[in-house]
């Protein structure tokens, strides 16, 4: 979906303002927001791509004006509401009103360090040979799907060069719809910044974008 999250190349947001000696969390609620979001992932009711889509498809004014962990909390609530894990009234009261639904896993204190260390690798065994080779010129296809995609608008239709073949990775566009992992070869593609943005871009720079095979065609 062409949403507010797809920001690459926009110029309207003003300067970057790094905070000196920034703490890891700004307030205790941010700690719990992180922990609940990570913790609820183990319930197995959604995957990484579904949760990304939940956040990026929040109302655009919300997405652009709320803080990062406010967006996380809103995304988490949305995912749980959609699946009947909680009700709007329960979110208001904080009290159980309808029974919990079955979840895949509730990680205990003892299990959590290993669960975090294990991570969630997305590389999968290759079934087919890669469709592109290092050094090959490719064009990013022009797509505007309603659902989730990791092909940013600023590279669509643009020509670049394959610089690395990474292996087969879970394909987010289908995984985000719950339509399966459908792993595809993943490539790092180098785009000249003036190819992407024309003469107004700073000259001589390269932007590397990781693209799945079905985002690319021979050029």
């Amino acid at each position: 979906m062409n949403g507010p999250h797809d920001m690459g190349g926009m110029q309207c947001y003003g300067p970057v303002e790094p905070e000196k000696d920034e703490p890891v969390f700004h307030g205790d609620w941010e700690k719990r927001a992180l922990a609940m979001t990570v913790g609820m992932g183990f319930a197995g009711k959604w995957n990484l791509d579904i949760s990304r889509f939940a956040r990026e498809s929040l109302p655009p004014d919300f997405y652009l004006t709320k803080s990062y962990y406010q967006i996380w909390i809103a995304g988490l609530q949305k995912l749980m509401l959609e699946r009947g894990m909680v009700t709007p009234s329960e979110l208001e009261s904080g009290k159980l009103e309808v029974p919990a639904i079955e979840v895949r896993r509730v990680v205990s204190v003892d299990e959590m360090p290993d669960a975090l260390a294990a991570g969630g690798p997305v590389d999968r065994d290759a079934i087919l040979e890669p469709g592109f080779a290092t050094g090959e010129r490719v064009r990013a296809i022009n797509i505007n799907p309603q659902g989730h995609t990791r092909l940013p608008r600023y590279v669509r239709g643009k020509v670049g060069e394959i610089v690395e073949v990474h292996g087969c990775h879970v394909f987010p566009d289908s995984n985000a719809k719950g339509e399966g992992e459908n792993p595809e070869w993943l490539y790092s593609v180098a785009f000249d910044s003036q190819q992407l943005f024309g003469r107004d871009a700073e000259e001589g720079n390269v932007v590397m974008v990781d693209c799945w095979g079905s985002y690319l065609e021979h050029a």
Partner: protein, 210 residues
């Protein structure tokens, strides 16, 4: 500068107590429903507040500077080489290092969200997740670098790595001169978080805080 920015600042501060309440309410509900164990959530907080952070990445960089064989292993398979030092886990499953050299500077971003190599850098700072950084660094990286006080030579080529997939990029900054016989532990003190994102350079030996 603009309404969006002003707006977000208003929210960030005046609504903190609202968020405290909202998040507490949510957590008590999730606990009552048996979806999470609150003590296990404490482990998540502690992990990312104290155990996992840019000191991990600094150790990787210092070793890469000091040990050619290790650097070679990082180039071959960064995830495995980083795991040698005990750094594994979420948002670090598929690591790649990118090396700054004279004339070549690398910067990492996630224009679509906030992808960041947690296992070596911890959680990302607010600016990394912010609209100004995500939007502008791909089109005007020099201008963004100037906001961090970094000015590169005119001839230096900048490569911006947009983390659109699950590959996570760690910048190996250039080793500063004047630290020739330093141990890895000493060298790690030169390696700032921003130097491993590419929005900073490694410190010079005389810049290390006492």
């Amino acid at each position: 500068m603009n309404e969006t920015k002003k707006h977000s600042h208003d929210h960030d501060h005046s609504h903190w107590s609202d968020m405290d309440l909202k998040v507490k309410t949510l957590e008590s509900l999730l606990v009552e429903k048996g979806y999470v164990d609150p003590a296990a959530l404490d482990v998540i907080v502690e992990t990312y507040e104290t155990n996992v952070g840019p000191r991990n990445g600094a150790a990787v960089v210092a070793k890469a500077w000091n040990d050619e064989a290790y650097l070679e292993r990082l180039r071959e398979n960064a995830s495995d080489a980083i795991a040698e030092l005990g750094f594994t886990g979420r948002q670090g499953e598929h690591m790649q290092v990118v090396e700054n050299k004279p004339g070549v500077h690398n910067i990492v971003v996630c224009t679509l969200c906030s992808c960041y190599p947690w296992s070596v850098l911890g959680l990302p700072p607010v600016w990394y997740k912010s609209a100004p950084y995500r939007s502008r660094v791909v089109i005007e990286p020099r201008s963004v670098l100037s906001e961090f006080g970094v000015k590169l030579p005119e001839a230096t080529k900048i490569t911006v790595w947009d983390s659109t997939a699950e590959m996570r990029y760690l910048v190996i900054p250039e080793r500063p001169s004047g630290a020739k016989d330093w141990s890895e532990e000493q060298l790690a003190k030169l390696v700032t978080r921003d130097s491993m994102i590419g929005t900073g350079l490694a410190l010079l030996p005389n810049e290390v805080p006492a």
